[in-house]
């Protein structure tokens, strides 16, 4: 038994340690960028910019965390997010649907995609990877067909309908941050303290065993995708709140960044092991990176490359850590 005791401590440490290192990295990066951009990086409005990116990316990451916890994957989130705000935005601008319903609609569309993905994965056993591919195409297609391939601009803050933009920034107060952290906490509770999270994590680790314990795994698996869909819907609101305009046919790059943030946070692609706090930190790292790269006058390309490399590093450390444990 002594042996196992040691292993277990190592494991506990791993989980805790992980976060510490991440936060350390985060600060390190912040300082590095700050230094390199001659202080201008520490400005308040710079922080607000970074947050703008954090919000929608954060919700995407939170969502996909649940899916990855089940051992699945969803990389339709980016296009689906755009689909949400395009379709509802088009209704808003063209069919004169009032703001509030449009926002709700955004979320509902997200939920619908969640149901679609979840149903196919859980009940029809279609590999998640393929479902993602499919619903990615479908989301892009629907959005484009619906908007007649025109981009949609949500109202400016100055207009009467502009109030929705207060979600992220009400005269200087980063409301969005509070909402985001609030929802993160809820997610953390759901994942760690409730039956939902327990089953989602367990079936991510060994689905058959959970099924034979008399648990309706299909239901819980589907739930994970629905949660993801919902959060994607929320993300779409925060995206338009930050950038007003969305256009059909895009959004892929956000999949990668969202998944990256989540994996960096120590959520294991193998499933069964997920951490909301990690995801949140991961998202901050990604956003800071994006912000910093731009601030340094690099183009997006460099961000792609660096993000790619970082995620590889993160995953490799996760893999090798697990290999050590077994």
């Amino acid at each position: 038994m002594k042996v196992e005791k040691i292993k277990q401590n190592a494991f506990v440490k791993k989980v805790g340690f992980n976060r510490i290192v991440l936060i350390f990295v985060l600060l390190l990066m912040y300082l590095a960028f700050g230094a390199l951009t001659g202080g201008s990086f520490f400005g308040f409005s710079r922080i607000m910019n970074t947050l703008n990116y954090v919000y929608f990316l954060g919700f995407l990451s939170l969502g996909v965390t649940f899916v990855i916890a089940t051992g699945g994957i969803d990389f339709s989130i980016g296009p689906v997010m755009f689909c949400c705000s395009l379709v509802s935005g088009y209704c808003l601008t063209t069919y004169g649907v009032p703001m509030a319903p449009s926002l709700i609609m955004s979320i509902l569309i997200g939920v619908l995609f969640g149901v679609f993905n979840g149903y196919l994965v859980a009940y029809w056993k279609v590999p998640p990877f393929i479902v993602s591919m499919a619903s990615m195409n479908i989301a892009k297609g629907i959005a484009a067909v619906f908007t007649k391939t025109q981009s949609v601009s949500w109202p400016q803050s100055t207009t009467d309908d502009g109030w929705y933009r207060n979600f992220i920034n009400m005269n200087g107060i980063p409301v969005g941050l509070f909402i985001f952290l609030g929802i993160s906490v809820i997610c953390a509770i759901v994942l760690n303290k409730t039956k939902w999270g327990r089953y989602i994590l367990c079936l991510g680790s060994n689905e058959e065993a959970v099924r034979l314990s008399g648990v309706n795994v299909k239901k819980w698996k589907m739930l994970a995708y629905i949660i993801c869909g919902t959060l994607v819907g929320v993300a779409s609101i925060f995206f338009v709140a930050a950038y007003t305009t969305v256009q059909p046919g895009y959004g892929d790059q956000y999949n990668n960044e969202a998944i990256a943030g989540c994996v960096m946070g120590g959520t294991s692609m193998a499933g069964g092991l997920a951490s909301i706090s990690g995801t949140v930190i991961g998202v901050f790292i990604i956003s800071l990176l994006q912000q910093g790269i731009l601030a340094l006058g690099f183009t997006k390309e460099y961000q792609y490359i660096i993000t790619g490399l970082i995620v590889i590093a993160a995953v490799y450390s996760d893999v090798s850590a697990r290999r050590r444990k077994n």
């Binding site: 279609v126 990877f129 479902v131 195409n137 479908i138 998944i259 692609m269 390309e301 490359i305 790619g308």
Partner: protein, 324 residues
């Protein structure tokens, strides 16, 4: 002879896909008179070359139970770098092509190392490479779009590899001939050589293959190298077909190829699949790409249909499994 039976099953799948292709062609021809013309056929092929090449390559990682998402953004950045060399550095086209393919192989090796040696989940590893390649091309050649020499220009000869224009201006899509040859070669490689045999073996039971004394690391890496190699060739095909290569494009190309392979009966869980299947699958995807606009549907419908077809293709397998 169960082996025959197994073969038979796949043949069945290919036959099915072939039937779908015929059905689509008939349908489109009925609905759109302009579709049933020689040029359209040619254009379907034109659109298919680079996707086909990707699909032929990516079939190998898929059969090992992995996947390669980096091919789409990859091929664009290879083509970009090639074009950059021709125009900014005034290098001959031949060199550009070589570089294009060379880069493909390099990235292939990189993927291989990540997946086979560092043991990362293929999906995630290649997703990262996808990001990296997406940045690589533009980063290396300044984020500008470049165009390879056009068919009329002196050294535009390489475009004739895929499409030969006779004096009277009739177009002969000789590209398809090469595709068929490649399909033949790769089928042979997959079915009758160690490379193919071990690729399947790895997809079937990696540990067992290792214990059988096979150098799985090598063959596993090789699968990704093949995929990279073909991505490089796809880069050339793309440059040969389209006037200008724009950076940032290419995201999503891989899905057409992988989708095609899946439609063609390659199992997402590895161990099963044929080259011919992948090839036919790609044709289905390309028919939709080109065909749907002809029957008066806006281009965007194509994406929706691609999605649906993909799901359908997999559901067929799922249901078949349910049966036996």
């Amino acid at each position: 002879m169960a082996n025959k039976k197994a073969l038979g099953k796949l043949k069945g799948r290919e036959a099915m896909v072939l039937a779908i292709i015929v059905a689509m062609i008939v349908l489109f021809s009925i609905l759109s008179p302009t579709f049933r013309t020689y040029p359209t056929l040619v254009s379907v092929l034109d659109n298919s070359y680079y996707i086909t090449l990707m699909a032929l390559g990516v079939t190998f990682p898929l059969i090992t139970g992995g996947v390669d998402l980096s091919i789409g953004t990859g091929l664009v950045s290879y083509a970009l770098i090639g074009g950059f060399l021709i125009f900014q550095k005034g290098m001959p086209v031949g060199v550009a092509i070589a570089v294009c393919i060379g880069f493909g192989i390099l990235i292939g090796i990189f993927n291989g190392v990540l997946v086979a040696i560092m043991d990362l989940p293929p999906f995630l590893a290649t997703l990262c490479t996808c990001m990296i390649t997406r940045g690589l091309g533009p980063a290396l050649c300044g984020g500008f779009g470049v165009s390879w020499p056009s068919s009329i220009s002196a050294d535009g000869g390489f475009r004739k590899i895929f499409k030969f224009v006779t004096a009277e201006g009739t177009v002969i899509p000789i590209g398809i001939v090469f595709m068929i040859i490649l399909v033949a070669i790769m089928s042979f490689v997959l079915d009758h050589t160690r490379v193919g045999r071990y690729t399947i073996a790895i997809g079937s039971n990696k540990e067992a293959t290792r214990l059988a004394g096979v150098n799985i690391k090598f063959y596993h890496v090789l699968a990704y190298v093949i995929s990279g190699l073909f991505a490089g060739m796809a880069g050339v095909a793309y440059a040969a077909t389209y006037a200008t290569i724009y950076p940032g494009a290419g995201a999503g190309f891989e899905l057409d190829a992988i989708g095609g392979a899946i439609v063609g009966g390659v199992s997402a869980s590895g161990g099963v699949g044929t080259i011919l299947g992948s090839f036919l699958g790609v044709i289905v995807i390309c028919l939709m790409k080109v065909g749907l606009p002809f029957i008066g549907l806006q281009a965007n419908w194509q994406q929706i249909f691609t999605g649906i077809v993909l799901i359908a293709a997999v559901l067929v397998d799922v249901l078949k499994k349910k049966k036996d």
